[in-house]
Symmetry: C2
């Protein structure tokens, strides 16, 4: 009977996990590591017993573990915080990820691994482990120090870039090549998809959750949350993205709802249970023979992780104006790999593009660097003092001058305010235009089924194209209008900067009309390229254009109102309630 085998596996797994988490608490080691060890002990590679009989079922539950892990990460993510983390986090994270991928790739080639193995190794080394860091900083009681806040900022950016990395790797693994154009197209589509899901999600999901929460039933809220989570993951899978992305995005969207605290309380036990299964399932895969055969690469990679992260993150933090001690602590804190690496390694196994040894190697490196993390953090201060003492005076002077200079040019003033205004207008315009692009891309995506459906009444294919394209344009009109308004405001602002004399007044007015129209005009060919599959012939385009112009003239005010309502609904979700940030 399958069911009994399954219950037996679960019982063995949970008992082992339970024992091990108690042991880890006694020995003050991270629980994650304990789970992996427990998995190894009950797994097929450790004598004397084979305790797990139905690995397939456990692996399915482990997939749920990935979903709940990423969903939980999303719930802890704050969109607003991302906008606020500042240059340190963004620069350090970007710098780190690019360099670590390069380092991993080079290391892989050094070991004479295949191209794909080397690439995945790079990706595996790129992202640090939120779980381990939070645990280590908590244990050391350093969670609220400044460098810890910097680390959390970097982790947020890392999560976003990591999500992109997973999507990118899936694409590269599918096509087998690393063509720049393709990578850019994949990235562009990914960004567009994330933008559209975020905007639609932020408009819809918090309202759904608020409605459901009114019934006052934990059960109903939880089932709705799970329905939305799995439903969105399914959608993401159907669009050929990784469900990692889906779970993270829907988590980030729900994080902006007013029911966040309640949702976290309800989802936490599920995350505990399934992530335990996930980490134990990782342990099941460890083969000691592989570890023995790859002892040298594991040692080299572990060293590369520690040194690479220390350098990239430390330099990133220093360049953006932190003192040497803080930079060193940031670098030391981030010097490990964890759950994201497992997910990327699992992706390679699932897509069947990496060799069998990569997963256990990643697990071993993660185990080693997890163990070293607390010692590294504790060693940062003494090391900083020694470095400062050993450094020649004039070098220290140069470094100090750099910091002073950076703090000087960052003085806030009128310019900063103006820059913020410009940035905001530009952002709004870009978002609106991106949405328009998404609408036309979506039209192309759904053209085939719509075509089939329309064929029943209208047999002319050109008319279909015209209808789909026209509908897309109709949907886009409020967005185009909004983009136009934003661009006009922006160009007015820029024109004002030029001076206030009455002589240039006419020029300024002309400029403020021309710039938005020119921008939109240059956007149209791009749109045509994006929607080439549904682009109707020229004569149809002309008719559609005329119709759109008439509609625009007639419904201008209504369009503006619709857009303003959507915009303020979004603002409402993002602004009024500041949940306590931990």
């Amino acid at each position: 009977m399958l069911a009994i085998a399954f219950i037996q596996d679960l019982a063995v797994l949970m008992l082992a996990a339970g024992l091990v988490t108690v042991l880890c608490h006694r020995l003050q080691q991270p629980v994650v590591l304990g789970y992996i060890v427990a998995g190894f002990l009950i797994g097929p590679h450790s004598p004397p017993f084979v305790l797990i009989s139905d690995e397939q079922s456990i692996r399915i539950l482990a997939e749920l573990g990935v979903i709940f892990l990423m969903f939980g990460l999303g719930l802890e993510f704050r969109l607003r915080r991302l906008l606020r983390v500042g240059p340190t986090a963004i620069l350090a994270a970007f710098f780190e990820i690019v360099l670590m991928i390069w380092l991993g790739y080079q290391l892989g080639h050094l070991f004479a691994w295949s191209d794909m193995d080397a690439l995945f190794l790079g990706a595996i080394l790129a992202i640090s482990s939120t779980t381990i860091i939070v645990k280590a900083l908590g244990d050391l009681k350093m969670k609220h120090e400044r460098f810890a806040q910097l680390i959390f900022g970097i982790l947020i950016v890392e999560d976003v870039l990591g999500i992109g990395l997973v999507a990118l790797l899936s694409g590269i693994a599918a096509s087998g090549t690393v063509a720049t154009a393709e990578v850019l197209a994949t990235l562009g589509k990914l960004l567009l998809f994330m933008l559209v899901s975020l905007l639609l999600g932020l408009l819809l999901v918090p309202r759904i959750l608020a409605y459901v929460a009114r019934f006052g039933s934990d059960e109903t809220l939880l089932i709705t949350v799970l329905g939305l989570c799995f439903g969105f993951c399914l959608l993401v899978i159907k669009l050929d993205y990784s469900m990692v992305l889906g779970a993270f995005l829907i988590g980030a969207i729900m994080a902006e709802s007013r029911q966040l605290a309640q949702i976290e309380r309800l989802v936490e036990p599920l995350r505990h249970m399934f992530s335990a299964i996930f980490f134990v399932a990782i342990g099941l895969l460890i083969d000691p023979a592989v570890l023995r055969d790859y002892a040298w690469p594991i040692a080299a990679i572990s060293l590369a992780v520690v040194l690479g992260k220390l350098l990239t993150c430390g330099v990133g933090a220093f360049v953006t104006g932190n003192d040497g001690r803080t930079s060193l602590r940031v670098g030391m804190g981030l010097a490990q790999i964890g759950e994201f690496s497992f997910i990327i390694a699992a992706l390679g196994v699932k897509l069947e593009v990496t060799s069998d040894f990569l997963y256990p190697v990643a697990v071993a490196v993660s185990a080693i660097t997890t163990l070293t993390t607390p010692y590294l953090i504790r060693a940062a201060d003494p090391l900083a003092r020694q470095l400062a003492a050993a450094m020649p005076a004039h070098v220290a002077g140069v470094f100090g001058a750099y910091g002073t200079w950076l703090r000087n040019i960052r003085q806030p003033g009128q310019h900063a305010l103006l820059a913020a205004l410009i940035r905001r207008s530009l952002l709004h315009a870009i978002i609106n235009l991106a949405l328009v692009a998404a609408i036309f891309l979506g039209g192309g995506y759904f053209a085939a089924p719509i075509d089939l459906w329309l064929d029943q009444w209208l047999p002319q294919p050109n008319l279909h194209k015209a209808l789909i394209w026209g509908a897309a344009l109709l949907l886009s009109l409020p967005l185009l209008l909004a983009a136009y308004h934003r661009l006009k405001a922006l160009s007015l602002l820029l024109a004002e900067l030029g001076g206030h004399s009455s002589r240039t007044r006419r020029v300024r007015r002309a400029l403020s009309e021309l710039i938005p129209l020119l921008t939109l005009g240059s956007f149209l060919p791009l749109l045509a390229a994006l929607s080439s599959s549904i682009l109707p012939p020229r004569e149809w385009l002309l008719i559609i254009g005329l119709l759109a112009a008439v509609l625009l003239a007639l419904l201008w005010r209504w369009f503006v109102r619709v857009h303003r309502q959507l915009h303020s609904a979004l603002q409402e979700t993002l602004d009024p309630h500041e949940p306590p940030e931990s």
Copy 2:
């Protein structure tokens, strides 16, 4: 890829469940019913789409649903409350279950179903639905009225009897016959197993949980709880009992720990998620063709459930001294079947002893009686008034006199106190002797592996038996001693009742020594019968007996102390902290 099919199934299931629970809240209907309907709608029997592709995985998760449902029921169960529910609950529940099984069995034969189908139908009708009743009473805001308390008491007894029923049905289905002796043996072993698990569990589990809780980590506590829960379920399955029993027992044991509130908070989301899957999976099985073909039986059975439960529970409540109105309300409240019926029906399917139509019929009857429950409860008061008005005066007088008489003989007094004292001593003696029986049964159960192990050193089989039997006796000595003490106290008490004159003093003393020794003496043959497989030859028995006597004489005090410590540890778990009873 299996994993994607699984995620898709989960997504469809959760989305459907989410939609339906929102709808149920709007329409003020029980969510359970909604889940079943959702399951039917996405299931294989409802056009136009087949939305669930991997039913096997869903069914495995539904098994987890059963575990979490019963575990949750156990957590809400209070051993102490069971000891306090009083005669109404015990009598009404027992009366109801026996009569409903008989009624279902007769109905099954009336429809010309097979013996096994009829028997399972009886069992399906026997137990009312805690979930539905709690929901209905909550909706009607009647949870705190007296009749509701009576209903909850009956439900507690029903749960215990239902657990026994499941074990019994498994036994009957395995042997294929309903031999009285076998049924009694099965029941006896079951009771013994429950007793031993409860006592050992109460000694160990709360201490383990208290130890783990000290780490202050929700994750560690949850994983430990799950490990204990699944581990105990596994043990129970290995002993050929149903995991329903295991989940309920371990839940009831954990309900006595100080971490109960925390455990409930952590386990609740898991229960919500998996019980939703369980109920939706029930809906998947509904075939409308079966419902059409069996419309008449379904109608008849539904009527039988309502009338049968109304009569049995109502009469049970009235006989034990409640007024007519309360009795009627109790009967009306319990007039439905629910989750236990599904578990019993699923048991029949799993053991392959019932026909395919039984499960959908049970689901349909549950759906109908669930819908009628709130109306019945609301109809109880008007009906009671009409009945009272229509009743001839002398009949009403007889009923009234019965109630008065019953209340009179229940006056508490010195006799009641004495009776409680006697009951307590008797209970302790019986528990100790039952534990001794369990030790010897366990010795027989584990004799084979011990034999094999001992063979390495000692090749004489008789010596093995002597060793095992002797070890069992050694373990039993403190318990036997305790039983002796309890029986002696009891007989002293009884002797005192005979009078205080000095003439009878010697007789009384002799009696108080004789009764315990005689009782223990008559227990020994039973013990020998229970342990027949490990009973050594007579000469060995003599030696063992002598050794035991010597040991007893030497270690009397130590044995008494050990037993007292265990006893007070158990008391400590059960007594000091009264958790708030809801």
